[in-house]
């Protein structure tokens, strides 16, 4: 039987967390202080540390994956949860404390004003440059930003940002499609389906604990997987649009 959350809001803040015991409680407390009107859901993605335990007494909603499914699937769980409990907006942010929840209010205001389907908190859209980013990562970001522009008709400068506001209209598409990390491949797929995706400038802090979800090997695999998925997303979006009544 489903356990209905104590709903207070039409917006759900979702924080996917994998081995983030060092930072998650601070992130959650900051979100609750800055966005008291929003419900907060932590998707604990099979953490092997004390991520779930440190959230005890925090007043948030906690969904536990029994094993690690990866970032994309954790986001998808949040989408499925938001769909089931009829939330209108899903706000995603990282559990490592890099995002400042205080910036979400401006993002929310722009989301409502611009009639966006997805609004990305972007580190690079203000200057349209990747200053201070290591060369390998910068090349990857430029490549995927250009690919999104080329294939979807609108350039997105920060395709890997974890801070996003996702509107309800996109939930069915996100629940059905199997994106990797909800980066360029998912953005292109959604844009080709006709959803409006935009960017809003934000700043982020340094990661103080934990490690990136990308290993050395994934720096080779990630671009190949993303490019392949991006191409297949274009095909799938075309098929879906043709089938639509």
């Amino acid at each position: 039987m489903d356990i209905q959350p104590t709903r207070r809001s039409r917006s759900l803040v979702a924080i996917p967390a994998y081995n983030e015991a060092a930072t998650i409680r601070t992130v959650v407390d900051r979100v609750r202080a800055d966005l008291p009107a929003c419900d907060v859901l932590v998707v604990n993605d099979g953490s092997r540390d004390h991520t779930a335990a440190v959230l005890s007494g925090s007043g948030i909603l906690l969904a536990n994956h029994l094993c690690n499914l990866g970032y994309g699937r954790a986001i998808q769980t949040a989408v499925l949860y938001a769909t089931r409990w009829d939330y209108q907006q899903l706000i995603t942010l990282d559990a490592d404390g890099q995002h400042d929840p205080a910036q979400i209010r401006a993002l929310l205001a722009e989301f409502d004003r611009g009639d966006w389907d997805i609004l990305i908190g972007s580190r690079y859209v203000a200057r349209k440059r990747y200053d201070g980013v290591p060369i390998g990562r910068r090349l990857g970001m430029q490549l995927f930003s250009a690919l999104v522009g080329l294939t979807a008709g609108r350039r997105i400068y920060d395709t890997t940002s974890g801070l996003k506001i996702i509107g309800r209209r996109t939930f069915p598409a996100l629940a059905d499609w199997h994106f990797i990390d909800f980066h360029a491949e998912a953005l292109v797929y959604l844009m080709r389906l006709g959803f409006r995706i935009g960017e809003f400038p934000i700043t982020i802090g340094e990661r103080r604990h934990g490690q990136s979800m990308y290993s050395a090997l994934s720096h080779v695999k990630y671009p190949l997987k993303t490019v392949l998925m991006l191409v297949l997303g274009i095909v799938q979006a075309g098929v879906t649009r043709r089938k639509a009544p």
């Binding site: 489903d2 959230l55 949860y81 190949l224």
Partner: protein, 122 residues
Amino acid sequence: MTGAGVLVGAAIGIVLLVWVANLIRHDRLYIGYGVIFVVGTLAAMVVLIVPSLLDAVTRGSIALLPVAALSLVPLALFTFLMVYVFAQITILSNRVTRLTQELAIRNARQEPEVDARSVESR
């Protein structure tokens, strides 16, 4: 290799690519496995189509291990079998994923709210 051999090899490669792409698109082959088959097949096709590369690979492989051209047939069959096996693994894995997500959603719980100040004062 004769022109006909190259054509047959390229046709097998294209069939494999289309099959793999279709499986990935329908979420029946994990993208991480699929990308290995796609890159491998494309590399094999490039070797097959570019005569100088094919000569170099042939010379190299014969020097290491002389094999008959017919041994490529079981190799192609084995590759198709591998795709099939990985597709079955992906289907099972997807079922586990859906189950894990559903359990997480159904068992999601609201943590009680404990005021930090009241805990400290006790």
